[in-house]
């Protein structure tokens, strides 16, 4: 009997491991605290706030996609409803002068998300896979269209707004300046991340993984996959509501775009690009996509097209997302065979960059000729200056795209071979993951 328990229960973690585990969280908290003193500008603080909101939202989405295997096209519904409810709550609190300070208000959004997820989730989680994806889309459209009909509550096209500074104050913070909002969002982000990480370690989190991998087997063990999916859906709704609440507090407005298909699509993009296989994936994705969308829109007018193409490239070539790509190298790093593939990476990088540059040139030239044909043909994109109407540009573009494609294909084949060799070598040294 003792043998059985010792083989089932994991060994009690050593002190060093515990320190390492809690050390990461403490370090993250310190970094979050110190960020405003390093990048103190208003723009940076706004960016950090958006990243924080996006992190909560993406992680909540990953409870569905990564951990339970539910692909949802309508996650923004709970985000948006959380935002709307919070705006109404702020207005209610300030008109009735209730003694509720702003830092507790996001909880309202979370509860709103939870309530609506509990209400709508039972029907939609009856099925998984493709059917669930379609149903989530239908429910999202239902809510988004209804929001435009119920004008008094949702404010129609303009949305509804609130003043966050008029609430009951603690520590004499009125939450007017962006720095105070940053700390509010940072605190909630940290709390939500810890809570969602803890959720993955609970028996429920584990059974969610089981439902994702083999629902039939879960049924044999005695759990109802529908109930498990429903519970995961409710948790995801709660955290999405918190994210929506923080967004509403940040902008002091909630409108129908919060609930829309674009919002649902963008959380899917950031979660998947970051990588659904690891807990940290959506965090990486949220940071990457927020920064990318803010900076790309300065560089080119058709940044959404690049964004879509980038997403297609990730789905096609790197289904594990950014973290998946990085984690692939773990056995190589541990087995110290990474040096074998690095030269191939550098060789493959050159034609790939040429191909990408050619595609960018082609897109920008076409955009110039279709969107603003009368303008000056000397255009600038991504810091490159070129003449969109000169044949030299066209020939260069064609050369870069065609030449880059064929050379890149060959170098990537070589890279794949080098990769296999390095991985085999790492396996021989006993490092498998």
């Amino acid at each position: 009997m003792t043998e059985l328990t010792s083989s089932v229960a994991p060994p009690y973690p050593a002190l060093s491991e515990k320190l390492k585990f809690y050390g990461i969280w403490v370090a993250v908290a310190l970094v979050v605290l110190a960020l405003p003193s390093i990048f103190g500008s208003g723009g940076a603080l706004t960016t950090f706030s958006l990243i924080g909101i996006s992190i909560i939202f993406s992680l909540s989405y990953n409870i569905l996609l990564g951990q339970t295997g539910l692909l949802s096209f309508g996650h923004a519904v709970y985000y948006g409803l959380g935002g709307f409810l919070v705006i109404h709550a702020i207005n209610l609190i300030s008109t009735n002068k209730l003694p509720i300070p702003l830092p507790f208000v996001p909880l309202v959004g979370g509860l709103a998300g939870l309530f609506f997820a509990a209400l709508l989730g039972w029907v939609s989680t009856q099925r998984s896979g493709t059917a669930f994806a379609m149903i989530s889309l239908g429910v999202a459209e239902l809510i988004a269209s209804s929001a435009l009909i119920l004008r008094t509550f949702f404010g129609g096209e303009a949305g509804i707004s609130a003043n966050r500074t008029k609430l009951f104050r603690i520590f004499d913070w009125n939450f007017g300046p962006q720095i105070q909002i940053y700390y509010l969002i940072a605190a909630w982000t940290l709390l939500a991340v810890i809570a969602m990480y803890a959720l993955t370690r609970t028996p429920l989190g584990r059974i969610c993984n089981a439902v994702r991998d083999n629902p039939e087997r879960v049924q044999f063990v005695g759990y109802d996959p529908h109930v498990v999916r429903y519970l995961a859906f409710c948790f995801a709704g709660f955290f999405a509501g918190v994210a929506g609440a923080l967004a509403a507090i940040n902008f002091e407005i909630a409108n129908s775009a919060y609930l829309g298909a674009l919002q649902s699509g963008s959380v899917l993009f950031s979660t998947y690009i970051g990588g659904v296989g690891y807990f940290i994936g959506p965090i990486v994705g949220a940071i990457f996509v927020t920064v990318l969308s803010l900076s790309l829109s300065d560089l080119t007018s058709v940044w959404q097209l690049y964004f879509g193409l980038f997403f297609i490239a990730v789905v096609t070539f790197a289904p594990g997302g950014i973290t998946g790509l990085l984690m692939m190298h773990r056995p190589l790093v541990k087995g110290s065979t990474l040096g074998k593939v690095l030269p191939s990476y550098l060789i493959a990088l050159i034609p790939t960059l040429a191909l990408v540059a050619g595609l960018v040139l082609a897109i920008e030239t076409i955009v110039h000729h279709t969107v603003n044909p009368g303008d000056d043909p000397n255009i600038k994109a991504f810091g490159m200056n070129f003449n969109a109407s000169s044949p030299i540009t066209w020939i260069l573009t064609l050369f870069l795209v065609v030449g880059g494609f064929f050379v890149a294909r060959e170098t990537w084949r070589r890279l794949a071979r080098a990769w296999d060799d390095a991985l085999t070598a790492a396996h021989e040294r006993g490092y498998h993951a």
């Binding site: 459209e141 008094t152 789905v315």
Partner: protein, 315 residues
């Protein structure tokens, strides 16, 4: 009243047949490849825009044939060079691939043709009233749309029921793996089916373009309704898709033409509630909630018959 009934039925059947042109391709693709093509409505949009551009260059009638061929070739290429590659990453990756594709196609259409509606007109040879019903002139172009979609429906039925290709497709609807085991070139059939399915959507786009608005958001508007059709009919069921298309076409058309509201039926709300959210529900007309009707139907179907009207498969 009778006039409204007849005209709405005609329009409803027309809209339903258009929906079925798209839903049939979507259903067959889903049954064979196991992937719900998120970009299906985008091919409908591409059909409309190709049709617009070609009819501007060489006229509407050539466009009616060339645009679907182009869109179908594009669809076949997407299957051959995109989906087949992504296939090994699983169904979620396939669905996401088509999702990204839909996003990219919308952006590309916006870049080339702009965000505002293009001037895609009914050809002059069809721009006359077909018949006069009570006091309404029914346009000939709508009759043409109806005839084309019925002709394609009949053609599809004959091909599916009578030809060898149709036999294989039908077999693949229920037993996709067995078809492969029997030695058919599954890869080529998949590419062909994908191409034909997207071409059907493009035909719908070309004939619907002049009657509805040809705009870069038309895919995003129609796509969700298309999925409702497929889920309500039952995933993978072609007759189910037909019934659901007609049902949704009729429901939406009839709802648009009705003006009743709770306020109209039971009198205005007492002034105490006039400024609250209750007044929204009280005063909204059936015509205003027409856009959400398909989704309400979806939720009802899911509660009472989760596998869809004529569906047999659970997933």
């Amino acid at each position: 009243m009778l006039e409204l009934l007849v005209i709405s039925t005609l329009n409803g059947v027309l809209f339903g047949m258009l929906l079925f042109l798209m839903a049939s391709g979507l259903t067959v693709i889903f049954s064979m490849l196991g992937v719900l093509n998120f970009a299906h409505a985008s091919f409908y949009m591409l059909g409309a825009f190709f049709g617009f551009q070609i009819s501007r260059w060489i006229g509407f009638w050539p466009a009616l044939f060339i645009a679907p061929l182009l869109a179908g070739a594009l669809g076949a290429a997407v299957e051959r060079f995109g989906l087949r590659r992504v296939h090994r990453n699983g169904h979620v990756a396939e669905l996401l691939f088509t999702f990204g594709l839909a996003f990219a196609i919308e952006e590309i259409v916006q870049i080339i043709w702009g965000k505002s509606p293009v001037d895609f007109r009914v050809p002059a040879s069809l721009d006359f009233p077909a018949f006069r019903l009570f006091s309404t002139n029914y346009p000939a172009y709508k009759m043409f749309m109806l005839l084309v979609s019925i002709a394609i429906f009949v053609g599809l039925l004959v091909v599916l029921k009578k030809s060898r290709v149709g036999l294989i497709v039908q077999a693949a609807l229920t037993h996709p793996h067995m078809v492969g085991h029997l030695g058919h070139n599954v890869g080529r059939i998949f590419m062909l089916v994908f191409g034909v399915g997207t071409a059907l959507a493009a035909i719908a786009g070309v004939i619907a373009g002049p009657a509805l608005v040809t705009q870069s958001n038309m895919a995003a508007l129609l796509g969700p309704i298309l999925f409702v059709v497929v889920v309500v009919g039952g995933l993978g069921s072609l007759p189910g898709a037909f019934v659901a298309s007609l049902l949704i076409g009729l429901v939406q058309t009839f709802a648009v033409s009705m003006n009743g509201s709770l306020a109209g039926a039971f009198g205005p709300l007492s002034p105490d509630y006039a400024q609250t959210w209750l007044s929204d529900i009280w005063g909204v007309t059936i015509a205003q909630i027409a856009p959400i009707m398909p989704y309400v139907l979806l939720v009802l179907i899911l509660i009472f018959r989760p596998m869809g009207l004529l569906g047999t498969r659970e997933t």
